[in-house]
């Protein structure tokens, strides 16, 4: 039933489709990391309408399914004369959706910085930009790197959703090959194995980081 020759025949094709999966993962995560920080900072501004509307937008994105957001972006952006390749739309969708989770991660990190650090920054007359970049974020981010890593892995595992908007990533490629040869066992098994090969070591890395950053209290004064 299982054909090794078929397996090795389709493997290169699948690996090259895996490249698209990685590109979507990395770029999506970078976008999410950046936007997540933007949401967190906007939510903390003293200008009421900005913080309130940011909270509303972030909640809306987080409480609706990623698949719907992908469809929405893919099918409605052309109405506004924005025509982007499917992969780009997918990256924006993943980045936007995961930015709302990462925003919460950043918030946890920022709240773990003692309020005395803000006061010390004030007593040295830092501007608010300097306070964020020199004092708060360098202390807030390291402890939440493991949490961010978990979201990176989750995002990676959600990339097959991009198949729904015609991105030829790993799953979509497997489907194409399978229907070409009417042989599904090897291709879908390989897809699973490829996902596992990358997500399992990543989860070990996250565990290591968790230990490394475990005791932020000891690092504090």
């Amino acid at each position: 039933m299982w054909s090794w020759s078929f397996t090795f025949k389709v493997l290169p094709k699948l690996l090259s489709a895996a490249k698209i999966t990685f590109i979507a993962t990395i770029l999506g995560f970078l976008l999410a990391s950046f936007l997540g920080l933007v949401w967190t900072l906007l939510k903390r501004t003293k200008i009421h309408w900005i913080s309130k509307s940011t909270t509303a937008i972030v909640e809306f994105i987080r409480r609706t399914p990623l698949l719907i957001q992908l469809f929405f972006l893919y099918y409605t952006l052309p109405n506004f004369n924005i025509r982007l390749p499917a992969l780009t739309v997918g990256i924006i969708g993943l980045g936007l959706h995961y930015s709302t989770y990462l925003s919460e991660v950043y918030r946890a990190g920022i709240e773990s910085v003692e309020k005395e650090q803000w006061e010390a920054a004030k007593s040295l007359n830092f501007t608010s930009y300097q306070t964020w970049t020199l004092v708060i974020l360098p202390q807030a981010i390291p402890p939440v790197i493991p949490m961010m890593g978990n979201y990176l892995i989750t995002l990676f595992k959600e990339t097959p959703l991009l198949a729904a908007i015609s991105v030829v990533e790993l799953l979509q490629e497997a489907k194409i090959i399978g229907s070409e040869y009417f042989q599904y066992l090897e291709v879908f098994t390989l897809v699973g194995v490829i996902f596992f090969i990358f997500s399992y070591p990543s989860s070990l890395l996250v565990q290591y980081l968790e230990i490394k950053f475990k005791s932020p209290a000891e690092k504090r004064i």
């Binding site: 006061e119 004030k122 007593s123 007359n125 830092f126 608010s128 300097q130 004064i221």
Partner: protein, 294 residues
């Protein structure tokens, strides 16, 4: 409690010059008036929710003066200096630094709440050392001492480093410049916090119970350093909040006793510590003597 405004009026009419500092006019009551005060509190009140911590404080501080604020915990002494660092906003009243209001700005003759640029300008005259040191844990000792001079005052990095090393020698921490704060004892951290604050060259240095969090054997080191700095930095006004009465006696030009949100007594260290007028201060001081004899 006598009406504070009345007292000030009385004092103003009957000012008598004494010889502590040339520009300083001393009144051994609840207020000392200066010809040219560096800091001026005018009927300052502060509420936290329903709790009124400061109930109307009038206080003037002179250039180069070493002032100590004593009082039991909860009396409002820390709040008083935190307002000067802009960490708390007074509920009412005025605080002036060099004749300029700290929390308000004038615009077309109207008083408006101070904006960030005004606060930043005023803050550059003030520095603070905290009870819990508040060093930056992700920076080395040297970085802790150079970051603000470089980023805030625009000092050349090499020069900032040079100044920091000189300053760290004065606080006897020059051998630890590459350590991180978590590798240091409380007393060492506090000496670095003092160096960090002094390096910004503030006109007013606030010291908020800087020895209260320390193990007893480390208190002496920190007090020695403070004593040296107070002797050497003649132009720097220093306001101490402390429970170290012997230290206060030695270092202060003037001591203020704050009680239940008012300045109850003030004057030269000898008269406050040896000859307290009010029952409250007498009780406060005798509690300290008892503790020392234990």
């Amino acid at each position: 409690m006598e009406n504070t405004a009345l007292i000030i009026e009385k004092v103003r009419k009957s000012r008598v010059k004494k010889d502590i500092k040339p520009e300083m006019i001393v009144h051994e009551g609840t207020i000392t008036i200066f010809d040219n005060p560096l800091v001026k509190y005018i009927n300052v009140k502060k509420n936290f929710g329903k709790l009124q911590v400061l109930k109307g404080v009038d206080l003037e501080v002179g250039y180069g003066e070493k002032l100590t604020i004593i009082g039991s915990s909860g009396s409002g002494k820390t709040t008083l200096i935190r307002m000067l660092m802009t960490l708390e906003k007074p509920s009412s009243g005025t605080i002036e630094i060099e004749g300029e209001s700290l929390w308000t700005i004038q615009n077309n003759g109207k008083n408006l709440p101070a904006d960030e640029s005004h606060l930043k300008k005023m803050r550059s005259k003030v520095g603070m050392v905290f009870q819990q040191y508040n060093l930056f844990p992700h920076m080395t000792v040297l970085e802790n001492c150079t970051i603000a001079p470089i980023k805030v005052k625009g000092v050349d990095p090499e020069e900032a480093k040079e100044q920091a090393i000189q300053m760290l020698k004065r606080v006897k921490m020059a051998d630890k410049i590459n350590n991180y704060p978590n590798q240091l004892s409380g007393g060492q951290k506090q000496r670095i916090a003092i160096a960090r604050a002094v390096l910004m060259r503030p006109k007013i240095l606030l010291l908020d119970e800087v020895t209260s969090a320390l193990d007893p054997e480390m208190v002496g080191d920190v007090l020695n350093v403070l004593n040296e700095i107070a002797q050497e930095e003649k132009d720097m006004t220093m306001i101490f909040v402390t429970h170290e009465l012997d230290f206060a006696r030695e270092i202060s030009d003037r001591i203020i006793f704050i009680n239940e949100g008012y300045i109850l007594e003030q004057g030269k260290p000898e008269s406050i510590l040896n000859d307290p007028k009010s029952e409250r201060l007498q009780a406060f001081l005798s509690r300290f003597k008892e503790n020392r004899n234990l």
